[in-house]
Every structure is written in C-alpha cells, then in structure tokens.
C-alpha cells in the first residue's frame, strides 16, 4: 500500500487525473442512481410494499382499472383466501377548510377504511391514525393530517391533536399525523387529510346523500388495496379471486373479472405528469453510460501507464519478482486510487444529490420529499460501482504487465508489429460512442424544448391569471357560489373580463366524451369519436383572446339552472372540429348527437379559433365548448383578464372572499406561470440531458486528452526521429492527429448506431422529441468531432515541441 502510494505520488498528474475522473464519474453516477432508487425501489412509504396488491374491476379487454362499491368490497373481497387483509380508500377528494381567514383554503382530501393504515403498516408521527373503531356510520368525523400538511398548514403545532377543524362546514377532530413522505399507495395524490369512509363518504364525494355511496352496489368509487398472505404470489391471488367468484352480480356494469396488480407497479404506472418510472429508467441508463465512460477513461490511462512500466516490470522480474507479485503491485495501485476516488466521489455525490433534489425532483416529480438520500442500498450500489470500475479498468493493464516478455523487454524490443486497433483506441471509441448518445439526446431535447417555447398557444397570456375555485359544498349549492364569484369579479373595476372554465389550457387533464356523432359525418368502420369537452361560462373566449370566427358566444339563455349532463345544449366548437367533421358545410345550426340511442343533441351556435389545449406540440384538436351549467362540478377555474396578472390574481382572491368558496393552494397563478409549470418537466429533463451530456463529454475529453498526452509523450523518440528525417511540426502533429481523428470518427459512427437504438426509447420523452432526429445526430457528431480534435490536438502539438537531438540523445 505504502509502496503503491509512493509510486503514484511520483506521477502526480497521472494520479490526480485518475482520481478526478473516477471520483466525479462515480459521484455523478451514484447521485443519479439515488434518485432512481428512491422512485423505483422505494416509491411507497409502507411496510413490505412487495406484499401489497391493488385490486380492480375490469372490462372484457382487461385494460380498464375501475374501482369498487362498498358492498362489493364487504361481500366479495373480504373472503378471498389469499388476502391477509383488504382495505379501501378514495384519495381524490377536496375539502374546503375554514381556517379563520376570509378566504377558505382547499385541502387535498382522502377517505379510508379504518384498517387502511394498519394494513399498510404505517405508524403515526403524532397521535393515532384511523382505526377500525372509526368505521362508525354517521359517527363523529375524525381526521388524520399528513406530515406535510401539518407542517405547512398547521405550523407543525404539536397541540393539534384533539383540536377541531372545519372542513366542508363539518367539524372534524384531528387525531393524528402520518409519518413524513407517506402518500398512501398512490404517488400522484397525497391527501392533506384522511377521514373515515363510513362517516365522511358524502364529504369526499360532495353529496348530501351519503348513504348512496355506502350502500349502492353500482357506485364503484372506492379503490382497494390488499395485503397478500405470506408466500402467496400475485398470480395465486388472481386465481384465488376467481375461486371466490369475485365477479359482479346481476345488472351490474362490468361483466368481466377482477385484476390484481402489485401496488408498486400501479403507483409507478400512474405516477404524475413527469412519469417518474420512465425517468428512473432513463436515470439508470445514464448511470450505465457514465460508468462505461469512467471505466474506459481509467482503463485507458492505466494502459498507457502500463506501457511505460513494462521495462521496469521486466527488470523487476529479472531480479526475481514473480508474476503474482507484479499483479499485486498493480492491484495495490488500483486499490489506493479506488479508496481515494471512492471517498472524494462520495463527497461529490452528497453535493450533487442535493442539487439534483432541488432541480429535478421538484420540477419532474412535483413532490419534493422523495428523500434522495445515500441510504444503505445506495451506498451498497456505490461500493459495487467502485469495485466494478476498479476491476474492469485494472484488468487490461494488469494483463499487459503480467504478460510482459522478459526477453523482449530487456532486449529493448518495442512493439513487434502493428495492430489494426489497440485496446486504448477501442476504449476511446466506446467513450466517444456513449458520449455521442448523450450529446444527441441533449441536442434533441434542447431543440424540441426551444421549438415548443416558440409555439403560439392560440390564446392570450399577458395580464391573465387563473385559479381553481372549490365550492366544497354539495353540487346543488355550487352554482350559486360560482355565480356569486362571477358577479363580484364583473363588478371589480380592475377586471377587463372574467370567465369560468372546467379546464384552462394548457393542461393534460380534461374531460373527453366518446360515442359522439356529428351530424352528417360518416365515421370509418372502427372509428370511435372521442372529443375534448370544456365546460365554460360566457366571456371565456373574450377573456382568453380566442377569436370568435362565426356565430355567437354563450349568453344567459344557454345556462339553465338544472344542468342535464350535456344531453341537450347549445355548444360552440373550434375550427379543428369543423375542419375534421364538417369541412364543407357551415357549422352553425348543425347538431352533434350520441351514437348509442342516448338523446344527446348538441346544437352548434358558434365557431372559435383553435388553441393548444392539452400540450403545446399537439396538432389542433377538435374541442366542444359546453355551458358550464351542463357539466357542473365542485371545482372550476376562474380566469381573469385584468390590467396585470398580479391584479387579476388579487381580484380573484377578493371575489372569492365571503362567498363560501375555497381557493386551492398552488393553483392561483398567472397564465405565464401556468405555462412555465406545464413546461417544467420538459425543462428539467432537458437540463438533465444537457448536464449529463456535458458531464460525460468532459469526462471523455479528460480521458482522451490524458491518453493522447501520455501516448504522445511516450512517442517523443519517434517525434525526434521524424524531425531528424525532415518532418515539420505541422506534419508531425497531423500525423499523430490522424490516428486520433480516425478513432474519434469510429466513435462517432458507433455513437450514431447506439443513438439510433436508444432513440426508440427516448422518443416522446419530452414533447417534440422524435425517433430519428438526424439534425441532432449531425450536430452532436460535429460537436464531438471538434471537441475530440481539440482533446487530441493540444497534447500532440505540445508534445511535438521537442528538440530532436535531446530525445534521440537520451536513447
């Protein structure tokens, strides 16, 4: 060890380069791995997540994942042999919280069965969680706060236990706080407060008639999670459900069977907009790429060093050193480098994972407590990475040295013959190849993002703001609340115009209706017409600056007090709708019917221009705008055009005050901010791709530079000979560069092939990224060629600055 350290310290540049490459590469790799680990391997903060399954009702295609009614759960699922326990929940509720201020706040809400937390194996952070004793129909409502809501909304007040809060105008007694990071078995929703199903089903569903949701066998609103008995597989659970005849009864909607899917799988596949599982696989791919580059870098540097050590090794062997001893010597050096690089890399990983947590996780995952920490599993992975890199990069140099021919070395013989490709060059090709993949990806992502940012959304953004207003009460009262809010805003002198909308563009969420039949349009045999529907108030188009092309806007006569679920109504369609279904007919007065004999009859009274609805990169989508009273919900967006977006937001807050409506926290923002938030995952992914590409390219450059510099220095004798034979410095540089350029070009070629392969998995990762982005590949190739040229040119040019007589004389 000491000897190895001394030997390394005699070559400080080589030593420093190796430690730098290994530590930064490994540190970067393990930071990325830590995120993937957090998302992929421990997404659910529950006990023994592997034994949890989600159970759904499905249709004949077996693709639908639908919920259950309470009677079904009690009668059909509780008796399945394979289950150690079954719990049910609903985590998409919204509660308005009368916190004492004039404007009510909105809390993300959930209801769960009394055994829910016990089944998941979750312990309370404070107080107690829901328990079977809370399953009392019509009993007092108790509530469990999430740790995060307790901190952010209740100032982490430890005296909160036993306190009463008013949710949806009902008193709820807070009995406990969940542990940090707990989000149930879903990753996309994290209720701020959990209430018992038995006493709060009506609150969750916004219905005054709570008994319907507890008794009706056909209302499939509850999600089910089950814990498998020890040793039972998911497949066995499926068979057990079949044996228990878990199938719907007579006159029920679903004719098919039940699905059992591991809870982790469901959580990941349903994970929010950023699609964390996909991201995690991308991150693991990046980890692999970084490790390959580090291996190639380190092996390349060590190989060059091994070449210079051959004479010394030959001498040692001639003096009696065994091959084993030579191998130990090499391994000793590798060990010292690994230990140092490992320690430095860990510090680097700590710093980098903090940075990644802030940039990536908050933007991509939209929840900032994924707990990217260097836990035991991550540290074990780091150890494996370190060992693998050390071993893989040390094998070739060790073989080179141990295989030293004593006779040849002591006779001064150098390479006996020319090799078409040597291992060092092959390693550079590998580095260049994988770096190219990252560069191409980064350029492709950045190009797509820039294109997206240039897209005209088709609606006005300036001085506009929107906020989600929750009525929190029953549907029956909602309309009055919305009208009150609208009235207040219209009376506000700062407001230019105001409207309500179910969906504010641009948003992935939204309402679609299938089975529609535009009048006179003959669909293809297998065409099921599914169209985006946005329910809006009058002035929606004026507020968003969407052009009215023909007909009229909605007015008072379109908004009946008793919405009928969009069966007969006046509607407005956009130009894309007309272009798709009535390209050669005037749309005004035409109707849209239903296909299944349902008495749908929507009459078109206006046509408006297109706007981006679900994403900025979509082609114009047909949209039907319906009067909001037809599809009334307990949450609507209020969109305001004012003299500035800040004033617009303030006007909304002022208008909501005293109406009984709540404002969902985090949703009130200017349309510019909404677009920024919408673009955040793409921006973060692009940032990640660019960062990784720059990082990998820098590592490659350091490797290429190191190898080229070391190799050029070892060939100084050759440089001297060439000078003596009449070569000029440019000729020598060109000669040496020639090989480096060929190697880089091979790397770029290999990279192009790899990119073509990888692009299949990257297409669509962010909006606008296509499978074959030839321009990005060309740009990446060019960029890498320039970088590779410089990485080779500088050391060769410097090495060529040598007096021939000095190197030849040294011989």
């Amino acid at each position: 060890m000491i000897l190895a350290l001394k030997q390394l310290l005699r070559r400080p540049v080589y030593f420093f380069a190796l430690v730098l490459v290994m530590s930064t590469g490994l540190g970067g790799a393990v930071s990325l791995y830590a995120i993937a680990d957090a998302v992929l391997f421990q997404p659910l903060r529950v006990q023994d997540a592997d034994a949890l399954i989600r159970v759904f009702q499905t249709d004949e295609s077996r693709t639908a994942r639908n919920g259950w009614s309470l009677p079904q759960i009690k009668e059909d699922l509780r008796d399945v042999e394979a289950f150690a326990g079954v719990a049910h929940f609903y985590d998409h509720a919204t509660y308005t919280w009368s916190s004492g201020s004039e404007v009510r706040e909105t809390l993300a809400g959930g209801v769960a069965s009394g055994n829910f937390f016990e089944l998941l194996g979750v312990k309370p952070f404070l107080g107690r969680l829901l328990q079977p004793a809370d399953d009392i129909r019509g009993g007092p409502v108790v509530g469990v706060l999430s740790f995060e809501a307790w901190q952010s909304r209740f100032a982490a007040n430890p005296q909160i236990i036993g306190e009463h809060v008013t949710l949806n105008d009902r008193l709820v007694t807070i009995v406990g706080v969940t542990p940090p990071g707990f989000s149930g078995v879903s990753l996309s929703r994290r209720p701020d407060v959990w209430l018992p199903v038995s006493s709060a089903a009506g609150m969750a569903m916004g219905a005054s008639d709570e008994s319907r949701f507890l008794d009706a066998r056909t209302l499939h609103w509850l999600d089910v999670v089950a814990r498998l008995k020890p040793g039972i597989t998911v497949e066995q659970a499926r068979r057990a459900m079949e044996a228990a005849q878990v199938i719907p009864g007579e006159n029920e909607v679903y004719p098919a069977a039940a699905l059992a899917i591991p809870a982790r799988e469901v959580a990941l596949s349903r994970y929010g907009e950023g699609d964390a599982a996909h991201l995690s696989w991308l991150l693991l791919g990046l980890v692999a790429v970084l490790l390959i580059i580090v291996c190639a870098d380190v092996a390349g540097l060590m190989l060059v060093r091994a070449e210079t050590q051959r004479a010394e090794t030959g001498l040692r062997m001639s003096l009696g050193a065994s091959r084993g001893r030579v191998a130990m010597n090499v391994l000793g050096e590798a060990f010292v480098i690994s230990v140092l690089a490992g320690a430095v890399g860990l510090l680097f990983a700590l710093a980098m994972s903090r940075g990644l947590q802030q940039t990536l996780v908050s933007d991509l995952v939209l929840q900032n407590d994924f707990g990217i920490i260097l836990n035991a599993r991550v540290l074990a992975a780091y150890g494996i990475m370190l060992f693998t890199v050390s071993l893989l990069s040390g094998i070739a140099p060790m073989r080179r040295l141990v295989g030293t021919s004593l006779v040849k070395v002591l006779a001064g013989a150098r390479q006996g013959e020319r090799r078409a490709v040597n291992l060092r060059e092959l390693l550079v090709v590998v580095q260049a190849g994988v770096s190219m993949v990252l560069l191409t990806t980064a350029i492709s992502f950045a190009g797509a993002l820039l294109d997206t940012l240039k897209v005209d959304p088709g609606f006005a953004i300036k001085n506009r703001a929107a906020a989600l207003v929750s009525t929190g009460s029953t549907m029956e009262d909602s309309l009055a609340v919305y009208r009150k809010v609208l009235r207040n805003l219209r009376a506000d002198g700062r407001v230019v115009s105001v409207a309500l909308a179910q969906t504010v563009p641009v948003s992935q969420s939204g309402f679609r209706i299938g089975g529609l039949a535009p009048q006179g349009y003959i669909p293809a045999a297998d065409e099921n017409i599914v169209i985006d529907v946005n329910s809006v108030s009058e002035d929606y188009f004026r507020t968003l600056g969407i052009e009215l092309l023909s007909g009229r806007d909605f007015d008072a006569r379109d908004f009946s007090e008793d919405g009928d679920g969009l069966t007969t109504a006046n509607v407005i369609v956009n130009r894309a709708f007309v272009d798709t279904y009535w390209p050669e007919r005037p749309a005004l007065g035409l109707t849209i019917g239903g296909t299944g004999g349902v008495g749908t009859r929507l009459t078109v009274v206006g046509v408006v221009g297109n706007n981006k609805q679900r994403s900025l990169r979509e082609p114009p989508l047909p949209i039907i705008y319906a009067p909001f009273t037809q599809l009334l919900t307990r949450e609507m967006n209020v969109v305001v055009h004012a003299t500035s977006s800040e004033i617009a937001l303030q006007a909304i807050r002022d208008a909501v005050r005293g109406t009984g409506a709540g404002l969902s926290s985090g949703t009130g923002m200017s349309l510019r901010e909404r677009l920024d938030v919408f673009m955040a995952p793409d921006r973060a992914l692009t940032l990640l791709a660019v960062g990784a590409a720059v990082f990998a390219t820098l590592l490659s450059v350091v490797g290429m530079y190191g190898v080229a510099a070391y190799a050029a220095r070892q060939r100084q004798r050759e440089i001297g000979i060439r000078y003596a034979l009449g070569a000029t410095r440019p000729q020598i540089t060109q000669q040496f560069l020639h090989r480096g350029v060929i190697v880089a070009v091979c790397g770029i070629g290999a990279g192009s092939l790899l990119t073509a392969f990888a692009s299949r998995y990257l297409a669509g990762t962010i909006a606008g990224v296509e499978q074959s982005d030839v321009l990005a590949a060309l740009l990446a190739g060019l960029l890498f060629a320039v970088v590779a040229l410089l990485a080779n040119l500088v050391p060769v040019w410097r090495a060529a600055d040598v007096a021939p007589m000095s190197v030849l004389r040294d011989e």
Binding site: R414, G416, E417, A724, P804, E811
Partner: protein
Amino acid sequence: MLKLTNVEKSVPFEGGRLWLLRQINLEIAAGDFVSITGPSGSGKTTLLNILGLMDSDWAGEYELAGEKIHAIADKRRAALAREHVGFIFQHYHLLDDLSVYENLELPLTYRDIGRAERQSKVADILDRFGIVGKKDLFPSQLSGGQQQLVAVGRALITQPSVILADEPTGALHSSQGRTIMELLRELNEDGATIVQVTHNPDNAAYGRRIITLQDGWMQDEGAADDNHKTGT
C-alpha cells in the same frame, strides 16, 4: 560545402555557462569524408547536430551549400536540412511499428514526393542494399546490422549531399560494423560528403580527414592513414 567559423555553443550551468564547443573553425569540401573523434563529452555529437541543422542555439557562422545558416530563419533551415542532409544514428532509430518499406519511404513523405516516385526510390534502395525480401518485416524482426542497413538506406533515399553519421557502428558487432563502414566508403566514392562521429580509431580511419575534439575545442587535424585507401 560546409564551413564553420568560430562556432561556439554553451548551456546555462550553476549560474554561469558550460561550454560545449569553443571556437570551431572547420571547412568540409564536397565529396569529403571526415571523421570526428574524441572522448565522451568532448562535443562530437553536439557538433554533428549543428552540422545537421538539428540545433540552432549556437554562436558563430555556418555556411551550408552557400547559404548562411546563422542568418536565416528556422523555416529555411529546416528546408535546407531536408534538401541536403541525411542522418544515420547509432541506435538506428527506425520506427518500430512501420515496416522496412515504410521506414524507407518516411523521409520522402516529408518532401512532397508523389507516390509513384516514392515507390520507385524505395524499390531502388531495397534493391541496392539487397533487402527486397525484408521489405515487409518490422525492425524488431531484423538483426542489428540489417536495421542499420535500413537506417543507411533511409538516410540516402532523399539523395542528400551530406550524410551525417553518429556512431553508425556503435551498436553492431565488428563484422556488421565493417559492412556498414564499407558501405559508407562506397557512398563517398560515389560522391557523397560524409561526416561521421566515432570513438573507434579503425572506423575513424575510413575518413579522409580526422578531427579530434577535446573539451569542446578542436585539436589539430590529422590525415587518415592508408587504411582508407586500401580498404583493409
């Protein structure tokens, strides 16, 4: 052909200067064969490097083929070296991963000579030195004598007017050494100007003139004995 006037060379040493060559005055005519001898450290190779234009850090005057080397730019010096000088080294200095053919061709590639002409010149040298059968071998596959033969061929291939040889037989055993020296004599008889550095009195005797250096100073010049004339 070559004329040195008061040429001196020194390097910094312990705050002062260490003199490697002092007041060298030497004239070598075209077709001459000069041996430079002297003990180790006497400045032989330093002088040869200056003659071969591989060293430009010296004082004095030097004329080569009518050009004042001391007064011209480095680029022109390099061009003159390419035009007039061929080098033969003690350790052959063949490039290990080039074949015999490629080693011979190397100097031609630095002189903008077309491929066809290069092939023809390399073929001539291979034929002349009887190493046609070895053209595809690598240096490590040749004996020392054969390697030096290739090195001599490489020095000649550009048809230089001056051949500078630094201990050309230093790494060879005596019979191989004799072969090389005979070859140099033949070249000289064919008109080439040869300057060799050697420790070996027998080899020095191949020169028409023998110059002895001592601590950087040129000693009295002596004529070669009859050995040169008889070839024994």
